[in-house]
């Protein structure tokens, strides 16, 4: 037993490192002066260490703390992605003007960020239903606070309020669903659930309700229509950095948890079918539910995005739409689909963060988030304009950007799984999405700036960060075998 604990702790080092970072952040906040800079450096360092530790975990495929957490390629992949997101967000935060106004409380800001990342690490690894829920709540609750971090602003306050109410209800759905699941299967971790399903379940109706409620719970996290309503408002109200964080990292984590849950307990066991209980059981159509939800999400989100006047809202809807595209992969119930999702998520992280970064810089310089104010930006600051154009084009899925690769793989997987109708809808949605992405590009380049609007410039650091984001978006567009190979191998989860 003891050595199991020891071993578990050893396997758990990255998470521990994060906790240490968290504490360090608090301390630094107390002792150091000129906080903003220094605390952020501390956090960066902590994340750096964590990154090293995570790198050390590659290839492991074990379960620790008596089947509480799995450390497997799948988890490692997502930890890496999340760390990338975390690092970038911290970098953003160092540049953000919004936060400077609250520099007195900046310590707790970074602390919370670290906390969220910790929660996400648990989310991607958790195999125990309770731990899943705890991790889920840990990230959520910290996010509620972060969303309202600039609390002096009405919109920020409102955002956090909506976020917490919607979030709490959804987590209520989740835990209630879990309670039913636990009840009907008598198991409290996903392996147990799988075995129970394979052994057969009597109360199928209860099982169905449970699954649907769990799906609802996840759907809120990954913003699937019609459980997405909080997203646009919260994204608009929250500080840009947090919006970016929510739109990318927390979505990634949510997907990771969802994938693991369905992959382990439902997928490779033709579970319900095998023991031939009554007809209902044979056909728990969870993948069809997801397919339909994905289709609705893609269409609705893209359509609603058409009319947005606020760039953050626009990106909010675009990220909802992307959630739809990604969800297709899970709906296929194939490992190919899952690997496609992972590729998509990794790439999506960079292009979306990039777009948000530009939004932040513009907000810093011009203090505006209105799309109308972007007119002539391409002329006023070619670098910024071109970068934004690249990110948007990537989001629209044009070659030779990484966005195209993401779409190719998710579409490809869908086609090879034979869901032609779904991929057709996806294609249609893509066309629609073009309208609003290109509209921003148009504003930036096809409209001349006014005489009054002079050129816009940035310090080299900001430019450096931008380049950091551009490189993967462009490079993965023309040479993507590494990410693909990694994603394909990372589909292996412990216990499958």
């Amino acid at each position: 037993m003891a050595e199991h604990i020891i071993e578990s702790i050893y396997r758990f080092l990255p998470e521990i490192a994060l906790t240490v970072t968290l504490v360090a952040a608090i301390v630094a906040d107390l002792v150091l002066k000129e906080r903003n800079r220094n605390v952020s450096w501390v956090v960066l360092a902590g994340l750096g260490v964590t990154a090293v530790l995570v790198a050390g975990q590659s290839g492991w495929n074990v379960s620790i703390f008596s089947d509480m957490v799995a450390v497997d390629p799948f988890a490692v992949f997502f930890k890496a992605v999340l760390l990338a997101a975390g690092l970038l967000i911290v970098l953003f935060s160092m540049k953000s003007r919004e936060l400077e106004h609250n520099s007195t409380r900046i310590g707790e800001y970074y602390m919370l960020i670290t906390g969220v990342i910790f929660g996400m690490f648990l989310m991607v690894g958790a195999t125990n239903l309770l731990l899943m829920y705890l991790a889920f709540e840990l990230t959520s609750i910290s996010s509620y606070v972060l969303a309202g971090f600039t609390k002096s602003l009405r919109k920020s306050a409102e955002a956090s309020m909506k976020y917490i109410i919607f979030g709490a209800v959804s987590s209520g759905f989740l835990i209630y669903g879990i309670s039913l699941l636990v009840g009907v299967t008598g198991a409290i971790d996903i392996y147990g659930v799988r075995d129970a399903l394979q052994a057969g379940v009597e109360q199928t109706a209860a099982l169905y309700v449970a699954v649907v409620m769990i799906i609802v719970g996840f759907s809120y996290k990954i913003t699937v229509v019609p459980f997405h309503f909080w997203a646009p408002d919260v994204y608009e109200g929250a500080p840009v950095t947090i919006t970016a964080f929510l739109a990318t990292a927390s979505k990634v984590a949510g997907f990771a948890m969802m994938i693991r849950f369905f992959r382990v307990s439902f997928m490779d066991s033709g579970a319900l079918a095998t023991h031939g209980f009554d007809g209902l059981a044979a056909t728990l159509p969870w993948s069809m539910i997801l397919a339909v939800l994905a289709a609705i999400t893609m269409l609705a989100a893209n359509l609603m995005a058409l009319w947005q006047e606020n760039i953050k809202r626009l990106l909010a809807y675009s990220s909802i739409a992307h959630a739809g595209f990604i969800l297709m992969g899970l709906a296929l119930a194939t490992d190919e689909g899952i690997s496609a999702m992972m590729i998509y998520l990794a790439i999506y992280l960079f292009m979306n963060l990039g777009a948000f970064y530009v939004v932040m810089l513009v907000a810093n310089q011009l203090g505006t988030e209105a799309i109308a104010d972007y007119q002539g930006l391409g002329h006023r600051s070619p670098f910024l304009g071109v970068s934004m154009a690249i990110f948007l084009v990537a989001l629209a899925g044009f070659p030779p950007t990484a966005g195209f690769i993401a779409k190719v793989y998710i579409f490809g997987a869908t086609i090879s799984a034979g869901m032609i109708w779904l991929v057709a809808i996806a294609g249609l949605a893509t066309v629609v999405s073009l309208f609003y992405y290109i509209r921003v590009v148009r504003n930036m380049f096809l409209v001349e700036p006014l005489e009054s609007q002079g050129p816009v410039t940035f310090d080299s650091a900001s430019i450096l960060i931008m380049v950091l984001l551009l490189i993967p978006v462009l490079l993965l567009g023309v040479y993507f075998s590494p990410i693909v190979a990694w994603a394909k191998n990372a589909v292996t989860m412990f216990g499958t």
């Binding site: 309020m161 209800v169 169905y208 409620m213 809120y220 459980f227 359509l303 009319w307 509209r439």
Partner: protein
């Protein structure tokens, strides 16, 4: 000498005029005298060569030809090879035609030196003459359909350029356009005909096609297709030779300089149609030939009726040209091959002469009017002329000879050919019925004599319209006079046959013996021996008849316009509608404008509207319904206006608009939607 060397020689004759064209187009302006001498020299040399070619060729029976590969298709493993050749064929037909074309061309070159002296685009004019000569020679010398079509279009081009020589005048450029487009219609038919032939035989060369046909290999194994091909190809001739119903362009073409009218629209290009029919004679079926004959007859008749009432000296000649061309076509149609072609030759001489003569008259009139500073009087209207005989003797006497020739008075070349044609038609009707044809033929002969003498008398005899102008009118310079004399000489019988009353014994007639038809017996026209036998039966009768009729026509004109025994106006009044119809060219132009031109224009407008409204506004319904929406959002108007884009933008946009409505900002509404979502899913699951 070896016949093969004729090929090289013919190539030289072919390319000399082209060289002239290129040199003049690029350096014309810088050369002395703007290089008119250059173009003329080129053509003269070519003419000499052509004479040589003809004499050599006529001494030997067999014809000579050569071809060069132009394009190759297929020829890889498992795919047959198709080779397309361009090439030269020299037989009696082309040899004679060669001389005719170059002779007239040369004379016109000389005449033009005088006529266009000091013109704005003098060198350009000679360049175009060269281009035309080249293209015409191409038609004459070719040994395949494709090359014939190519040069067919090229003469069209040069004719377009020359008609539009004075393009500052709207009427001129209009006429040029009309000529080209009307011809294009004929050419389209011809092209289809050629396609039928090629697609079946995979070759364009005459020999190959005739060979395959005589072996009984019909296009798509059907006689109908063969006849169709024949008639379609003949469409080209209808266009070029201004046959009914595509004759409308020729009178307008008179907008070009008169020497051009002489060369292109009287002697050579318009005769190309006739030449082509002669060239392809073997593949025409009896039915095709009958159609051809009737087209010719109709053309001949109604053109003559129009010519009678015209007052513009060139218009009269133009209509008479159409009528004479109809004559030739009819002759070929009935199978009087040699007669038809001979008439082409003789007609070339005297009609060119007539045009040049009229050119001389117009030239003199212009000079006189210029001296009077009179810019209103029309220098081409014969009502403003009269009595020129005294002032312009050379012109008068040559013109007189030409008129005799065209009216078919004995001792002229015209008599010989025309007499043969009449005989041919009559013989044809003795064999196959169709009495209409000879009837028309004789009528037209009479009318021709009448209106030509009417023209002669009104122009040269009687008193001049304005007595004070007469002394100002002077004879034209020698460079214009000599060509007239040469042509006049060539309008006499001796050059074609030593027997003034029988062409059949003449060298030309002998040289142009009719080729064997290659179409199957059943649908072939009656063979030459048969027809010839019939001709010789009716020949004497025809000769007498034709003389009588010609003289009658002549005499009548004399009585009406010289002696004024009958008043022309009274007769016109008596004729009433007939007269009006004739003087208005039976309203062809009006009808065509109303039907085809406006029809097409309407069509273009319709399709344009269609493009803008329907195609480009798919489901404009969606567009208009949601127009309000697009108002609300300013950007959509200036980004997406119409078309598919419009549809997409408005339609999807509208949906998007509706969907946004649910994003009310009230958290509880959100939750309601979410809960509904949950309930729907659950219910669906539990029920299915």
């Amino acid at each position: 000498m070896a016949l093969e060397s004729l090929i090289q020689l013919s190539l030289i004759t072919l390319f000399l005029p082209l060289a002239g064209f290129l040199l003049l187009i690029f350096f014309g302006k810088r050369l002395p005298r703007q290089g008119d001498w250059l173009g003329t020299a080129m053509v003269s040399v070519a003419f000499a060569a052509s004479l040589f070619i003809m004499f050599v060729k006529l001494t030997v029976p067999e014809s000579v030809s050569a071809g060069w590969t132009w394009a190759t298709f297929g020829g890889i493993s498992g795919v047959g090879e198709v080779t397309i050749e361009l090439g030269i064929l020299i037989d009696n037909l082309s040899a004679v035609m060669l001389v005719v074309v170059l002779l007239i061309s040369m004379l016109v070159h000389f005449f033009s030196m005088g006529y266009l002296e000091g013109d704005v685009r003098y060198s350009r004019y000679f360049a175009y003459l060269g281009l035309f000569t080249f293209s015409m020679l191409g038609i004459v010398l070719t040994h395949n359909l494709l090359m014939m079509y190519i040069f067919w279009e090229l003469v069209g081009l040069s004719s377009y350029l020359l008609i539009g020589h004075w393009y500052e005048k709207k009427s001129a450029s209009n006429a040029a356009m009309k000529a080209f487009i009307v011809n294009r219609i004929g050419d389209a038919g011809m092209f289809i005909g050629i396609m039928i032939i090629f697609v079946h035989y995979s070759t364009f060369s005459f020999d190959a096609i005739f060979g395959a046909l005589s072996a009984g290999n019909l296009p798509f194994e059907s006689q109908a297709w063969l006849t169709a091909a024949g008639i379609l190809i003949f469409c080209g001739a209808i266009g070029k030779s201004a046959q009914f119903p595509l004759h409308v362009w020729l009178p307008d073409a008179m907008e070009g300089p008169t020497p051009v009218s002489a060369l292109i629209h009287a002697a050579t290009m318009v005769a190309a149609g006739v030449f082509m029919v002669a060239r392809l004679f073997p593949l025409f079926t009896a039915d095709a030939l009958l159609v051809i004959a009737y087209i010719g007859a109709i053309t001949a008749l109604f053109a003559a009726t129009i010519a009678i009432t015209q007052y513009d000296i060139k218009k009269v000649l133009a209509w008479s040209t159409i009528s004479q061309l109809g004559y030739m076509v009819m002759a070929l149609g009935v199978g009087a091959y040699a007669a038809g072609f001979m008439h082409l030759v003789t007609h070339a001489a005297f009609k060119a002469g007539l045009f040049l003569g009229s050119g001389a008259v117009i030239y003199a009139m212009h000079a006189a009017l210029h001296k009077q500073h009179d810019h209103d009087t029309d220098a081409q209207d014969i009502r403003n002329m009269g009595g020129l005989k005294s002032r312009m003797p050379v012109t008068y006497w040559t013109f007189f000879i030409f008129t005799l020739a065209i009216s078919g008075i004995p001792l002229t070349s015209g008599f010989l050919s025309k007499d043969e044609i009449l005989a041919g038609t009559l013989a044809f009707s003795t064999l196959n019925g169709h009495w209409v044809l000879p009837l028309i033929a004789f009528t037209v002969a009479g009318m021709t004599a009448f209106y030509m003498f009417r023209l002669l008398i009104l122009t040269f005899h009687g008193k001049h319209a304005r007595s004070e102008r007469l002394p100002l009118i002077n004879e034209v310079p020698g460079v214009m006079g000599i060509p007239l004399m040469v042509l006049a000489a060539l309008s006499l019988f001796v050059f074609y046959s030593f027997n003034p009353f029988g062409a059949s014994s003449g060298w030309l007639f002998q040289a142009l013996e009719r080729p064997m038809s290659v179409v199957p017996e059943a649908i072939a026209p009656n063979t030459w021996p048969v027809l010839y036998e019939a001709i010789s039966r009716v020949h004497t009768l025809v000769m007498i008849l034709s003389i009588v009729i010609a003289v009658a026509g002549l005499a009548f004109a004399w009585l009406v316009y010289q002696k004024k025994i009958f008043s022309a106006d009274k007769m016109a009044a008596a004729m009433g509608p007939l007269y009006r119809g004739s003087s208005n060219k039976w309203y062809f132009d009006e009808v065509y404008d109303a039907v085809f031109v406006n029809g097409t224009l309407a069509l273009t407008r319709i399709s344009n509207w269609f493009d803008a409204r329907i195609i480009d506004g798919i489901v404009n319904g969606a567009g208009s319904v949601t127009h309000v929406v697009s108002r609300i959002s300013g950007w959509i108007d200036n980004t997406f206006i119409d078309g598919l884009v419009n549809f997409l933008a408005n339609f999807t946009g509208a949906i998007g608009m509706r969907l946004r409505k649910i994003q009310t900002g009230n958290i509880q509404t959100y939750l309601v939607f979410a809960v509904f979502g949950f309930l729907i899913i659950t219910i669906v699951i539990l029920t299915f």
